[in-house]
């Protein structure tokens, strides 16, 4: 039986999986990401872990279809990373290095794009070929999958949904250097920012005042019927829903998959996004599904494996 490896490189750990050619996860493990010295050990560590696993399972090279890898950085068509703050990398010919270490065919893409492919394959986009995944974490990432294939973009920067400008009047600067990026309103950090502005208004009675405000506490307060928290959720939904309506006029997906830490709030999120989406979407693209990501931390290894097993 043939198999492949799916690898998801994060700033703290590298998640790894061994997949059968039918797509079944045969094994799953993690190694530490050693980011010291500009992350020079990372690719060697990954390669050693793959070769060890092959030895442990007595897998011959001819049985391994390849290695798929997701990294937190833009990746060019040749598998070159020009810089990753999370890993400490500057210019790195990541695909070439991994292939020379392991002797296995390797494909590398941006981690958010890979996660989108994983969710299409086994998660929130199951059964679809055209999806957009939005990852609401500390920042906002995203991935576009068209006809079952990742859209990497000419500079490896497709799916950078968090940096769509949604407010040209914004005076606070985003991490990217621009002003008014979606990430400033609809990420976990952005939701806290919206909530703090709401709390700064005098005379508001809300349970949000009782504890340190977080995206989680906002949506818990929404579930408890808190009016101020609901207004924050409506603002969040408007920024995100309007943006996705614009995005639908460009790539017209069948499903939007909402993932990342914020999505742990659950189904409560969806109506806020969907209501604003429907207010603004072109009539031809109103019939779109919104689902929650379903694979959690496995999205990356699954998407990486899928790149090898055939998009």
């Amino acid at each position: 039986m043939k198999c492949c490896f799916g690898v998801d490189v994060g700033g703290t750990t590298v998640k790894m999986g061994l997949f059968g050619e039918s797509g079944k996860i045969l094994d799953k493990w993690e190694i530490v990401t050693r980011t010291e010295n500009k992350g020079e050990a990372i690719l060697g560590d990954i390669s050693a872990s793959i070769l060890n696993k092959m030895q442990e399972r007595q897998l011959d090279k001819s049985a391994v279809l390849g290695v798929g890898v997701g990294v937190p950085a833009p990746v060019t068509g040749d598998g070159i990373v020009t810089g990753s703050a999370n890993l400490g990398w500057k210019y790195k010919e990541a695909k070439k290095e991994l292939e020379s270490f392991t002797g296995l065919k390797t494909r590398i893409e941006n981690d958010a794009n890979v996660a989108a492919l994983g969710e299409m394959w086994k998660g929130g986009g199951l059964g679809q070929k055209n999806i957009v995944m939005v990852t609401l974490g500390t920042g906002i990432g995203g991935g576009v999958v068209i006809d079952g294939k990742i859209v990497p973009g000419a500079h490896g920067s497709a799916g950078e949904i968090g940096h769509i400008c949604v407010n040209y009047e914004e005076t606070d600067v985003c991490g990217c250097g621009n002003f008014g990026c979606l990430e400033q309103y609809a990420s976990a950090t952005g939701i806290v920012r919206l909530a703090k502005k709401k709390l700064a208004q005098a005379e508001i009675d809300t349970i949000l005042k009782k504890e340190e405000v977080s995206a989680k506490s906002v949506f818990e307060a929404v579930k408890a019927g808190d009016a101020a928290a609901t207004e924050v959720a409506e603002q969040f939904g408007r920024y995100l829903g309007y943006t996705l309506a614009n995005l639908a006029a460009v790539v017209d997906p069948a499903v939007f998959v909402i993932g990342g830490g914020v999505s742990k709030a659950g189904e409560v999120l969806i109506p806020f996004i969907q209501k604003s989406y429907l207010e603004r979407a072109l009539f031809a693209v109103k019939d779109v599904k919104f689902t929650l990501a379903a694979l959690g931390n496995d999205a990356g290894i699954c998407g990486s494996a899928k790149m090898i097993l055939g998009e």
Copy 2:
């Protein structure tokens, strides 16, 4: 030698081309689009014209690789058109009908998407595989080509760039029923609208007052150094450039190809768009080319043929 047909169905004429398998245009002609009786004759007319041409040139069916067709409507993955105002069609199984008339393999896509593929192949996007084409006509159409292939979208509505909302404060309604669509500012009609608002300001001295204002007269006045016209062009460039910056964060093309009637103004357009684009684009996608469409009326037949010759 093998060949194929490229067909571009417009509301007035159907443009048709015969292409060699190397991509050379061997013949080019037009027939009238008979839109009466819900356009019921259109597909039969196209089929008859193809069969005539095959007879005239003594082409056997085995020599014809297929027929590519662009239509002014969204097209589903099965080649079904659910309605086209320009052609009078309601629900029409266009691919199936054409294939049964001609016995030739047929592929149908939206005309703006097809034109984008044509421009990638032989026009403003020559040498590239990831392009976005923006067609600035009476309205605004567009097409997205990723890895050399048209992105049709789940509802056949990808590339509807004209209906991205760029102004949530707008009170005038767009043809689509929404408010603040790009088309209301950056199409030929939109540019006239911006110019008329500028002219309505008292005390403005501008050569635009001398004649009926049009997109053409605005850009001619810009070339003549007219200050008011230049301000209108700056507004146009801001709406379009900011939108393309947002779009680049989603699909990250290598080139934006600007086409349609407005693009006949020539190179004078580009700096207005590019300046605003660079103000707002994410750092990773700033290095993008802006080119003018180069194929004119042939973009449709070329893109249609390219769908058959292999994207």
